[in-house]
């Protein structure tokens, strides 16, 4: 497989792994050593191009690599040992898979001749990871390593991105066995040729439909973020004055503070976004997949709309919602071509119809408008997020865990740039936030990196405070502490007559002492008036340090709006006492 040149350098399998990563331009590898990967770790030790970040649990390594990919669009790299090292990485691989995040995961494996014999720390990682990867492969011959690593990056980063696992038996990396090294420039596979450009005929058809619309909505998802098409999306929306809604994964694709932004849609979407979707006559869906957390009841979804669906993955088209005008291709060139076609036509949407539509949307805006109780003596989580948004000017990287705090962050942080909102949308992985923030901070040391979390989620990977100390990662932890697993409690309030089955967090640690024990700064905030000074200290005075803000919030707060199960996209609870 590798083309052999006479003058090729002779390297061991272990050295080839590291050299290939260096040739791929990888700066950081996130991992944890163990028996099966010791040869590779020794090769890492003997060079200085590729740097290794030692986490405290393999799950954190995967989330760090994943967050790097979300922030940059490039695949993150993980290195773990066989058996428990590999299985600990599984949650992180599944997290990346569900959100289509490029990642290359190198897992150690027992020696080839021991495979299948239940050897020490053996597990069938190819079998375990198969349903949660874009692809996986194993090394059969050491000389194939450069090719397989190039192939792993190619598959992970092209088409619809995703994680790729490369399983490396220990005997493939023996230091004394050397082979000629050559890193391929490109990979061509007869069985995998992802589409790039969209079909021009379909694009023309889509543009005609769009220009004829009276009540259009532009609905964009994570594909626009990972596809690097935020600029094109914004230009198209502004050129045609289209209302824009983003999915949870798509936040930041369109500036959150712009008047054309009508908020997130879906389960905890804004009133105006969900209403606009339901009443639209045309939906331009870009890099979004009509997920069940968006559509609510698919049978009642957007009854009057012509649906244009742009996606790189043909399997996403008409999977849950039928697309009238499908366009398969990378969103960036497709949007570019759409924009060019629109400009060429020198035509815009019917301005009086569009004006009426905007009037309607603004009326909806006034109905709920993200209101919450601002008179309470207790700290409200919404207020905390708004203040964080303010002090960071909507430009921080916000890495969230999973639960109520995630929804509050999505609703109240004003994301003005793409790739800044980093959360586990598809899998909903608690414990994602802190390692994700670490992965971003390591690669963007000058940027404000915030981990929005709760006392439940943060404890799922709290050991990483130690990694933060080791690498000087000054992330800001906003722990929205309400003493409950808030989202579970909300559902129990709404559907189980407030029977809080295991959703109360008893015996919480003193987070301030805990932060201090790990060598960081902890600040407790229990009253509204303490918030500003605490944020000031964390984000300005202690800019470069990790600050753990343990913020005690109203334990009774719910996330609203909230779609009513089984209803249409626009059927929502608006507060504890109001519904549509």
């Amino acid at each position: 497989m590798t083309s052999q040149s006479k003058h090729a350098e002779m390297l061991s399998g272990a050295a080839m792994v590291i050299r290939a990563l260096a040739d791929e331009g990888v700066e950081y590898v996130y991992g944890y050593p163990g028996g099966a990967v010791l040869h590779i770790y020794d090769a890492l030790f003997q060079q200085n191009k590729v740097k290794h970040v030692l986490v405290r649990h393999e799950q954190a390594a995967t989330h760090m690599a994943d967050a790097y990919a979300r922030a940059t669009g490039k695949a993150g790299v993980v290195l773990v040992t066989s058996g428990p090292g590999a299985t600990n990485a599984v949650t992180g691989i599944a997290t990346a898979y569900m959100d289509s995040i490029p990642m290359v995961v190198l897992t150690g494996q027992v020696m080839s001749h021991l495979i299948g014999e239940d050897a020490f720390q053996e597990t069938d990682m190819l079998g375990i990871s198969r349903p949660i990867v874009k692809h996986n492969m194993s090394v059969r011959r050491p000389e194939d390593i450069p090719y397989l690593i190039k192939k792993a990056f190619y598959i992970a980063q092209s088409g619809r991105p995703g994680p790729v696992v490369l399983d490396i038996p220990k005997d493939m990396t023996i230091p004394s066995n050397k082979f000629p090294y050559h890193y391929p420039d490109e990979i061509k596979l007869r069985s995998y040729q992802p589409k790039l450009k969209g079909h021009s005929g379909q694009i023309k058809k889509a543009v005609s439909a769009l220009l004829a619309a009276k009540k259009p909505v532009l609905y964009s998802g994570g594909g626009v973020i990972m596809g690097g098409a935020a600029a094109e999306l914004t230009e198209l929306a502004q050129y045609l004055n289209l209302p824009v809604t983003n999915t949870l994964m798509g936040l930041g694709a369109y500036p959150g503070e712009d008047k054309q932004f009508i908020g997130m849609l879906g389960m905890h979407g804004s009133y105006e976004a969900n209403q606009a979707m339901h009443h639209a006559d045309l939906i331009l869906a870009v890099g979004a997949r009509f997920d069940d957390r968006v559509t609510n009841n698919t049978k009642k979804f957007c009854p009057d709309a012509t649906i244009i669906h742009i996606d790189i993955d043909p399997a996403s088209i008409s999977k849950t919602i039928n697309a009238h005008i499908p366009i398969v291709g990378l969103v960036q060139p497709v949007l570019e071509e759409m924009l060019a076609t629109v400009k060429q036509k020198k035509k815009k949407l019917d301005s009086s119809a569009l004006e009426q539509w905007w009037q309607q949307i603004n009326d909806w805006r006034a109905v709920h408008g993200g209101r919450y109780d601002t008179t309470s003596a207790l700290l409200k989580p919404q207020h905390v997020i708004e203040q964080v948004s303010k002090i960071t000017k909507g430009e921080a990287f916000v890495c969230s865990d999973v639960g109520q705090h995630q929804m509050f962050a999505a609703q109240y942080y004003k994301f003005n740039k793409p790739n800044r909102w980093i959360n586990s949308g598809g899998l909903g992985t608690m414990g994602f936030g802190l390692p994700a923030a670490m992965g971003v901070k390591l690669n963007f040391p000058q940027a404000d990196v915030v981990c929005v979390t709760g006392e439940g989620s943060i404890q799922m990977n709290i050991q990483e405070l130690s990694t933060c100390k080791q690498y000087g990662l000054g992330v800001k932890i906003i722990n929205l502490n309400n003493g409950y697993l808030g989202m579970v409690k909300q559902w129990q309030d709404m559907n189980y007559e407030s029977r809080y089955a295991s959703s109360y967090m008893d015996s919480l640690p003193d987070f301030i002492k805990l932060a201090e024990a790990y060598g960081h700064v902890g600040i407790r905030v229990t009253k509204p008036e303490e918030l500003q000074p605490a944020l000031q200290r964390a984000f300005v005075e202690l800019k470069d340090q990790l600050v753990f803000l343990d913020i005690h919030i109203d334990p009774k707060e719910h996330v609203y709006p909230m779609q009513i199960p089984g209803g249409a996209v626009n059927e929502m609870f608006l507060s504890k006492t109001e519904r549509t």
Partner: protein
Amino acid sequence: MRHIISVLLENESGALARLVGLFAQRGYNIDSLTVAPTEDPTLSRLTLVTHGNDQVIEQITKQLHKLIEVVKLTDLSEAAHIERELMLVKVKAVGEQRDEVKRSADIFRGQIVDVSATTYTVQLVGTSDKLDAFIQALSGTQILEVVRSGVSGISRGEKTLAL
């Protein structure tokens, strides 16, 4: 509706497991599955019989396409095609039954490929319907064992599924 999907697959370890896993993972049905290398040893040809409504079949073909090792595929049942399945049936054959089984096998153009003092083994090739009909025709006979290969298929005329 019943569909016969024919797939050209890279003949690599794990490729078949990935394909079968996809069906389990996404809750699609597999009625039968046959697979073997082609004249090009780097490629396997796989024939899969499944059923589902148009939307499900569309998803199945799209999801199959997404597998990195799937080179090409076609839904044979969308056009004229030939399908064959092989069956071996071992039946009790004593007394009058011996002649009866022989006659039924002849009628269905089956062959008796193994004989013992008390049994016959009949080999039959045809469409799945024909094999079903033969089993029906044996209703008066004690069937000891049935082995079916699953369907293999190919398009009629000049249409091919090849590189």
